[in-house]
Subunit: 388 residues, 2 copies
């Protein structure tokens, strides 16, 4: 029977693809190939190319990000193997074929950030296994729309409910987790491996089961590119309504929606807000604009300083508002940044400000810069500190 | 302020990308460009390529699927414009640069099917606007895991709950919607534009609000590629446990999970099952294996005949089981297939069988073959017939 089984499959496959064989065709090589020692080989069959390069965020022989020319064999397969084993991590790369930047045709695993799509691969499930899917209970991830009377549009957000949420009548604390410029409501789930980090930390007992809400911080947009009524558009980096108070003004709508549609503990000591870069800016100014709302605040590589004239007084009187926020109760104010981050000085100034106001915070300085590698680490370290 | 705003954005953008500028770089051209008359131009800047072709499922000058050489301008931008306006539809394409199949670097909208990734674009929101996102209420789409004691693994499925589900205490009918070989729990949502079709038909009052459950029909798998504990693997077409009874045996677990975790009307006249190709096979044999469970059955380009020796008697006594199924109540048995489909004869034989047994069904024959274009149409036509 086994032979008949595979013969049938082969027939089905052949027939199903015959109509559009050129379109629905697998790559003739496998790539990437992760070896037992965590070196990685990339392969692409391009016999007619004269140069094929690989560009990736994993280290080359000098420890810098990789930009390397691949080697061609006699069959026209171009290959590149990392000179050293790679540290467990989620990595991104693209190929350049005769100068044209393309995705690896053999690797179906892709991520979009802004207007760029890159291939990804994962070494040993990344960082202590936190980025992979293990055989463990999984939370649910939902794309949920809510009305925003403040912004006059319907808006989409990602909501994680922890394993067991649907099988209990308990209420849960809530983390609001915000993306950076160029991102959207999918960013933490995709680039951030947030769902995998939640599932793994909860399975290990290292973090409290919680609802995590990942809204779209671009207040002019309904949803991620392709998911809103603007159609399959090219993502824009120069969006209006990102750091001028609109998102901050509309944030109570999101909290109200979550508290009225999920079993939450609707009080400050069970509510956290954190974000990366622009999302760190949002987390800082939202938590300050609504004192007594968020007991836990996380600023990951935060853009601290106001850039734009706001539509209301949200960025005025920062000292007085910070004092009021801390007076109304902050369990944790967590600031993390990489020593090479271009926002380092802004965060240094924020720490000085908090010091001069005698407001307590926790500071975490890492190596590296403004990168998802750091933001995943910050998230993994921040989550166990919440709701203790 | 506007100038400061953009200056700040530009600075942020420059700094954020400087670290990995080569990796996170937008394409220097826009592609595709959909013109006012629904012709479409594709552009790719590849000055060092000697031939660039486009392969797509939209018609060329002869009405066949497109395989065309693009034209190079003096700056090295290769372009192709469709010779005729395109009918509203969701289309797929790839580029071939010096023979290498690649995605369009300027188009971030991609779909994976099996081990192939293609670019997509949408003309006029496709088919009477059903495939686009309009400014209308949206249902929620969730990725939900459930335990399968029958299969011994945790499994992931996609669940659509209609607009307003979370704001009512009403119960809803349920459609189980199954994918084909090479697909997974994401297939209908992605290639099928199912979420958009549901939202649009519900907004028009053309379909009853319902819960739609899209499980993974590959009984050996936990989840779509990259979402299970097997890691970021290359999708396999030759999976075990696809058409030998395992999925059929485990199906009651899915129905039980749904009826115990969602507000459903848990009876046959409020329960439908439908699928495409292998999913049509599953829908036929599951609905027959559990008579009195599904009042509505939809077979879209169904693989009708058993291929493999099953692990139990699920494919035995088809006549007797069909009779029993219809005796126990079938409101609608809907068979749809394209006149060019390679499964046409199997479906013709099924109709003869049903005729000879005097079992009533509805038949819809379309043009075309075994394609998502047809499956989206079948879904759009089947949904308004349910739960009347």
């Amino acid at each position: 029977m086994r032979q008949i089984f595979f013969a049938t499959l082969a027939t089905l496959a052949a027939l199903a693809t015959s109509a559009q064989q050129a379109l629905w065709q697998s790559a003739p090589v496998t790539s990437p190939v992760i070896h037992g020692d965590n070196t990685v080989t990339f392969n692409v069959k391009a016999p007619d190319a004269t140069i094929v390069e690989i560009v990736g965020d994993f280290p080359d022989a000098d420890g810098k990000s990789t930009v390397a020319t691949m080697s061609r064999d006699s069959l026209g397969v171009w290959s590149y193997t990392t000179p050293t084993p790679l540290t467990p991590e989620l990595y991104c790369y693209n190929l350049r074929v005769n100068g044209l930047k393309v995705n690896d045709p053999a690797n179906v695993h892709l991520l979009r950030d802004g207007s760029t799509v890159v291939n990804i691969f994962l070494i040993e499930d990344g960082r202590d296994g936190l980025y992979g899917v293990a055989d463990m209970p999984h939370g649910s991830v939902s794309k949920v729309w809510h009305d925003s009377p403040e912004l006059g549009i319907r808006r989409r957000m990602t909501v994680y409910t922890p394993p067991g949420y649907a099988d209990t009548t308990s209420s849960f604390p809530v983390l609001y987790l915000l993306h950076g410029m160029g991102g959207d409501e999918n960013a933490w789930e995709e680039h951030g491996r947030a769902t995998q980090i939640f599932d793994n930390l909860i399975a290990r007992g290292a973090m409290r089961p919680m609802v995590v809400v990942m809204p779209n911080g671009n207040a002019a947009l309904e949803a991620a590119p392709g998911q809103g009524s603007d159609g399959l558009t090219v993502p824009r980096f120069d969006l209006p309504k990102t750091m001028e108070g609109s998102f901050e003004a509309a944030f109570p709508e999101i909290v109200d929606y979550v508290d009225s549609h999920y079993r939450t503990v609707a009080q400050a000591d069970s509510r956290a807000i954190a974000g990366l870069s622009m999302g760190g800016f949002h987390a800082m100014h939202i938590s300050k604009a609504y004192p007594g709302t968020f007991g836990y605040v996380g600023l990951f590589s935060a853009a601290v300083d106001p850039r734009n004239k706001p539509t209301w007084d949200v960025y005025d009187d920062i000292d007085a508002r910070l004092k009021r926020q801390f007076d109304d109760g902050v369990q944790l104010y967590w600031i993390a940044i990489g020593s090479d981050d271009f926002l380092y000085k802004e965060n240094e100034a924020l720490r000085s400000r908090l010091d001069s106001l005698a407001l307590p915070y926790t500071y975490r300085e890492s190596s590296g810069g403004h990168s998802w590698q750091n933001w995943r680490i910050y998230l993994s370290e921040f989550l166990p500190l919440l709701f203790k």
